[in-house]
Amino acid sequence: MPFSQQAFRPRAADAAPVTPPTPVSPAEHHAIEQFLSFEAQLLDEARYDDWLDLLADDLHYFMPLRRNTLHRDLDRETTAPGELAHYDDTRAELAVRILRVQQPTAWSDNPPPRTVRLISNVQARAADKSGEYQVRSVFHLYRNRLQDDTDSFAGHRDDLLRRDGATGFRIVRRTVHIEQSVVLAKNLGVLF
């Protein structure tokens, strides 16, 4: 389960067969799952200042575009670093987004949306650095707003989490793969 910017990685003919990830200990896995659930709650409750506390200072928050390609071009199905992305932010840049959404004049979020997200299929493994974990999770985010604005976003996330004394973990890297090429919503101004 290495990090990849690509949503699809066809196996080379001479590659070894797939092996399930070596699991972390049940206690570590539980702690990671609970952290992701807690994080999801903060976002659903729009407690963005608290959410920012969970982000490492060296965070990279990345959400590439998806495009329809033939199978032979699958390495281009997801935009690469340097190409367009929905998000390609540092922690400081996310903080500006959050500062905006907290203004009473942030019309796209005032009245605020109602969101709920399911975080599932969590797989965790120790990363190269001690105290860091590579975590893959799947999400389904439902957003409802105003009279009948209804959005459903599904996808998966590749995270790098770092142990942290105060918050349990901090998010160091997050790559979000959304399963839409044409985004079927008036905005993606929601944090995943």
């Binding site: 329809n68 390609t69 367009l84 929905h86 500006v96 500062l99 905006r100 959404v101 009279q147 090429s181």
Partner: protein, 444 residues
């Protein structure tokens, strides 16, 4: 329209527009024919098609088209519909191909659209299928200008140069700043939202008035983060004042823009006002000035619309098309364009800034789409449909289409052109008549 003309929906005298312009299914249907099948439409940037065989799938109104680089360097624009049973031929967004083969029965077309292979042609058609006349329909008019590729269905349309007219300055001021030209960075952001396409289009003719209210939250956050300078920003907020150094211009044929008139000083001020400090050093018009003269400080560098639906923000480097998607919806396709000879880090800095500001997640854009969506969402009421919309800002005060940067002049000018097209002739489309089977071969 019950014998009325579309001019009755747009009252230039009193400056009001009927809501039907923005939500009537009947208007929309006519618009597909009279506006989108008659207009020069942006279909791709040449940098998306660097090598022979490169293609992108694009849109002309609701028609899907393949834009494909030919072996002779030319560009073909092909209706993306199999001539056999009407299936979408190419279902990838982009790529490189020598053949487009329909997934239904396998009819196969080359990069120029010619039908080159029909499975079981001999058994099924006895050699009588007139393949040359069952090729992909080719858009008859294709012209490129400074890297922008336009196509037009109408055989009677004027040349692209005539279509642009004096608005050619907008394109030159934006896309001719360096001998190397411009390129778009990889990937096209696409999103579909409620809101008639003209709501976005008219805004890009120069609706500076909305910024202070709509984008208040984004400005506040950027100033608090010291990404924008408050003092400079105040000047941007005052562009409606006489002598502000910025005006709205409605060009012939419906094009419109906000144009800097205050020379180099105003150019520098307005460009740095809405860019973070790390990009300020890129606001150097010296090279463009050598190339374009005074044009380097003016048109094309702020908000621009090439009628009907190509728009860009010259200081933010976002380029977009507002595709119609039914009477009350649009699909926005958005690129980031940069000078091709900029250092890579400058290109990347613009990509990241532009995406954070104007995109699916852009802190400015998300509040624009709120407006466009809610205008259509609230439009169904019986009385609502009969309440006219106000375009009276600056009415009667324009000089030859030029008016304050706080005025509806360029928006009304866009709608004047829209009426002209809607009340005008149908496009003369390429020959759509079906070819009969070829004669039975003589028994030999």
């Amino acid at each position: 329209m019950d014998g009325r003309t579309y001019g009755e929906l747009v009252d230039q005298e009193t400056g009001v527009i009927a809501r039907a312009v923005f939500d009537s299914p009947q208007v929309y249907e006519v618009e597909q024919r009279k506006v989108f099948a008659r207009s020069w439409l942006f279909v791709a940037h040449a940098s998306q098609l660097r090598r022979a065989g490169d293609f992108v799938v694009s849109r002309m109104g609701e028609d899907s088209v393949i834009v494909s680089r030919q072996s002779d360097g030319g560009i073909a624009v092909l209706l993306n519909v199999c001539r056999h049973k009407g299936m979408r031929v190419c279902r990838a967004d982009e790529g490189s191909a020598t053949r487009f083969t329909c997934a239904y029965h396998g009819w196969s077309y080359n990069g120029a659209g010619a039908l080159v292979d029909v499975p079981h042609e001999a058994d099924g058609y006895r050699g009588r299928l007139d393949k040359a006349r069952w090729s992909l329909l080719r858009v008859p008019r294709v012209e490129s200008f400074l890297g922008l590729v336009f196509a037009c269905w109408d055989l009677d349309a004027p040349s692209l140069a005539d279509w642009l007219g004096p608005a050619v300055d907008l394109v030159r001021g934006a896309f001719d700043r360096s001998a190397a030209g411009t390129e778009v960075l990889g990937g096209v952001q696409k999103w579909r939202l409620r809101g008639n396409w003209k709501l976005a289009a008219e805004q890009f003719t120069g609706d500076n008035y909305h910024a202070e209210t709509t984008h208040s939250s984004a400005f506040t956050a950027q100033i608090a983060a010291r990404a924008f300078d408050e003092e400079v920003f105040q000047r941007l907020a005052d562009v409606g004042r006489e002598g502000s150094g910025m005006v709205n211009v409605g060009f012939p044929h419906g094009h419109g823009a906000t144009v800097i008139t205050g020379g180099e000083e105003a150019f520098r001020a307005f460009h740095t006002a809405a860019l973070p400090p790390e990009l300020h050093s890129t606001v150097d018009p010296a090279r463009a000035h050598e190339r374009l003269g005074e044009l380097a400080f003016g048109p094309g560098t702020m908000v621009n619309l090439v009628c009907p639906n190509l728009a860009w923000l010259g200081n933010q480097r976002t380029l977009r098309v507002f595709h119609p998607h039914g009477p009350d919806a649009m699909e926005i396709w958005s690129w980031v364009y940069v000078d091709a000879d900029w250092p890579e880090e400058t290109k990347q800095a613009y990509r990241r800034h532009s995406t954070r500001s104007f995109s699916t997640t852009g802190i400015f854009e998300v509040d624009d789409s709120e407006n466009w969506a809610e205008i259509n969402a609230v439009g169904a009421g019986h009385v609502t449909a009969r309440v006219p919309l106000n375009y009276q800002m600056g009415l009667g005060r324009d000089t030859g289409g030029v008016n304050s940067a706080y005025s509806d002049t360029s928006a009304l000018n866009f709608h004047r052109r829209w009426v002209e097209l809607m009340d005008g002739p149908d496009p003369r489309l390429p020959d759509l008549s079906p070819a009969p089977l070829l004669p039975e071969p003589e028994d030999g």
